[in-house]
Amino acid sequence: MTPSIGGGVASALQLLWVLLAGPLALGLMRKVRSRLEGREGASVLQPLRDLRKLSTKQRTRPTDSTWVFAAAPVVLVASAVVAAAFSPLVTLSALLATRVDFVAILFVLLLGSVSLLLGALDTGTAFAGMGASRAAMVGAMVEPALLVAILAMSLGVGTSNLSRLVGVGVTTSTLAGPARILALVSFFIAILAETGRLPVDNPATHLELTMIHEAMVLEYAGPDLALVTLGESARLVLLLGLFANLALPWGIALGTGALALVGGLLAVSIKVGLVAVAVSVFEVTTAKIRLFRIPELLAGAFLLGVLSVISAVALR
């Protein structure tokens, strides 16, 4: 399939969607959390206001930093939007949908993670180093779970192409085999860890020593900070969107017709919204686990992935 105009529109739509839905999802999650804590909480639109304000502020850099520090937020956002543009979020027929697979999306996202780690180390502060170290560890633990989960899902279909993985649920109704359910649970845990949500990391902490992800971005200010937040939230909705579409593919557009796209957009927004609310509820009811218990959690996710692979092979 050659790149088409429709695909291009769809990709652009998805790209813009993650940029917009990301902050909104953050706002939604904070809102839900506030309400569950008995607070009124900030508006769902608050993250967008924050971003707007940040974009008007001054940029800063630590004394001895290099271009890496400045480049990291840019690469983070770029990797997230590129990944989003080619993923089946709104439609199965986005640009390059047949030529980019799950693994590729994962590694594109990894580019963002790595650039953020390097940006943190470039600050030359103890906190950022600590954050990078912890984030790298969590990332290293997440990757096996993620890849095995992808392998498990791919096995049943015979390819790791994401559109096919999602599409097989739309076209046939043989969606929820045990292999796929196990893989999705594993994938979900991995997403929580990868995006720095509870119980792995507390995105709202103020105490540097308990931070993982926040510690890395302590040095960013103004537009750079806006980019970091934007990038992070885009990754979050991208991964939640993928999870939602893999778990409940219905509603996703098959082609690139205008109506289908609008339908797909609505569908994915609703699905991601639901998942975000669910994540938020889950977060309120659980405490952050100790740093060195995280591997146990992720080992559990990995085990689920392996079980999933074995059941996929056994039930074939």
Partner: protein
Amino acid sequence: MTILFVAFLACAGASALAGALMPRQGRVLASAVLLIGASTFALVLAGRVVSTGSDFTWSRSTLLPLGGLAIRLSPLGALFVILSGLVAAASSLYWIGYAHHSLNARSAATAFCLFVLGLLAVPMAGNVTTFLFAWELMALSSLALVAHDHARRRDAIAAARWYAVMTQGGAVAITFSLAGLAAHAHSTSFVRIATGATSLTSGAASTFFLLALVGFASKSGAVPLHVWLPRAHAEAPGPVSALMSGAMVNLGIYGIILVGRVLLHGGEQWWWLVVSAVGGVTAIVGALYAATSKDVKRLLAYSTSDNMGLVMMALGASGLTLATGHPAVAALALVTALVLVVNHSLFKSTLFFAAGSVHAATHSRNMDELGGLARVMPVTALTFLAGTLAVSAIPPLNGFTGEWLLFQSLLHALGAHGVAATITVTLAVAAVALTGGLTIIAFVKAYGITFLGRGRSASALEAHEAGPTMRVAASLTALACLVTGVAPYAVIGVVNRALDNGPNSPVAGWVTLRLTPLTGALTPLYLSAALAGAVILVVAWRALVTRASGYARVATLEPWGSGRHNQTARMQYTATSFGEPIMRVFDDVLRPDHDVDVSHVVESRYYLEHISYRSANEDIVERALYRPLARSLDWWARHTRAIANGSVHRYLAYGLVALVIILVVVQ
């Protein structure tokens, strides 16, 4: 083509002579230029072999007594010659600059040239004698180079000893295997051996394969035979490390393919399960030690082990699927293995070049003493960054395609039936993934701690950028990583030809790599373009809002240290602290030694005089396997001293006993 070969030999020989005979002034320059010439001739020769698909042969029975010299450069061998040639040419270029620091003595120059000759000659060998001659020449010359810094570093001596013993052990295993095969075929020629091997019994073939595997895998740093590698690759001078990690380890893989696939025609399923398992363990152990290492070259060396583990997993998957009747998957996995080898050569030589430049500039490899080098060594830093991203399999560098192909190979290899295969492949995927994560830790650490932040010692603060040839060599290989990352078919196409895959190549396509007949596609080119476009857009957005905000200047502020009075560079996270979480997570595997020494002031226990913290992270395999082995050898040696206790009566008694035995037995 003969003329090319002769020109190659002549250039290589001349370079060694130049190294041995020329005066100090211009010695290295002459040798290096001749070596680049030799590599070029070898490259052209190999290129022609790959493009025509027919072997180049050349033999002289008057050379190499008792065996004869036989050259048979097959397309497969040519691929490795190309790799060795590229790395050798770059290393030679790098050497010209490096020689201002070190590696300029007569003996070192000669050894360097002979090493390159050996590296290029091994894949050209057409019979057992030639192969082993080149192999051992390579070992001897690299041994001399590993020991090069012996007068300054005790570690170099230990490294040389480990290397000498392990490489000889490996060579012995290979010799046994090849000699056995040659004896069976009544010929030392590889072609005849391949024909003759069809009549080998299964037991004999397995023995020969396993022994060859021991030798070759040891060269590639496979666990548990890897212990020499992190020492030797780390202690060797810069360009030599690049040659060892960028070219020499490949030849171990070549050896496994040669014996397992070419000479023994693929053999049995369990061989490849073994290869896979060894590869998996190697990858994880290598990655773990890379992640927890604080010596930047040692880290790179462990990463070499790790990458060779991945290659072995791909090889194993290939052999496994071939033996179970899935030739399409087998072909894909073999291509994957070779692509991984090529990629590794490119990025690892880049990394070792850069690390060598750092070592030359700061006289330190301990990352805890480095930092902030990106500002004083911008080009070196950039090349190291390229290597970092490549080895971490991050698009758009070349490591990404390799990792993707590996995942595809393993995914499709799960189609091969059998419980053992399923479990092995699943674990292999897990190993690949875990390794990937650990690699990122290792290399974020390597780049971040060494080049970013602030300098942690005087030597780091006073460092200067490396010489021009060193920068050019590193930049060239770094550029190659980028180009082969964006257009991986440049590599895959050559690999396809080298494997003689014909029109039904398992993976092909300049713009989009497509697997045939399996399903799977990837377009690194468009992805890279999209990434570049997105980066440009985001940068433009940032510039726009920055201008609109009225704060055009980026404020340069002191790093935020919670407002403390004096914040020093030593308060930064170090390599040790960066790797600490992983060390704790894998405590049961790594079993590091920690030693905290606290002394209090006399007046109160609550005030500390000073704290010293030492942590040693010795290789667990070395501790658990080689220490006891060395101890038992030592025990044996000590308790047998009495054989020669000095008593002439005892000596004569040996003879009398022998005489009596003869008289009794010989009747």
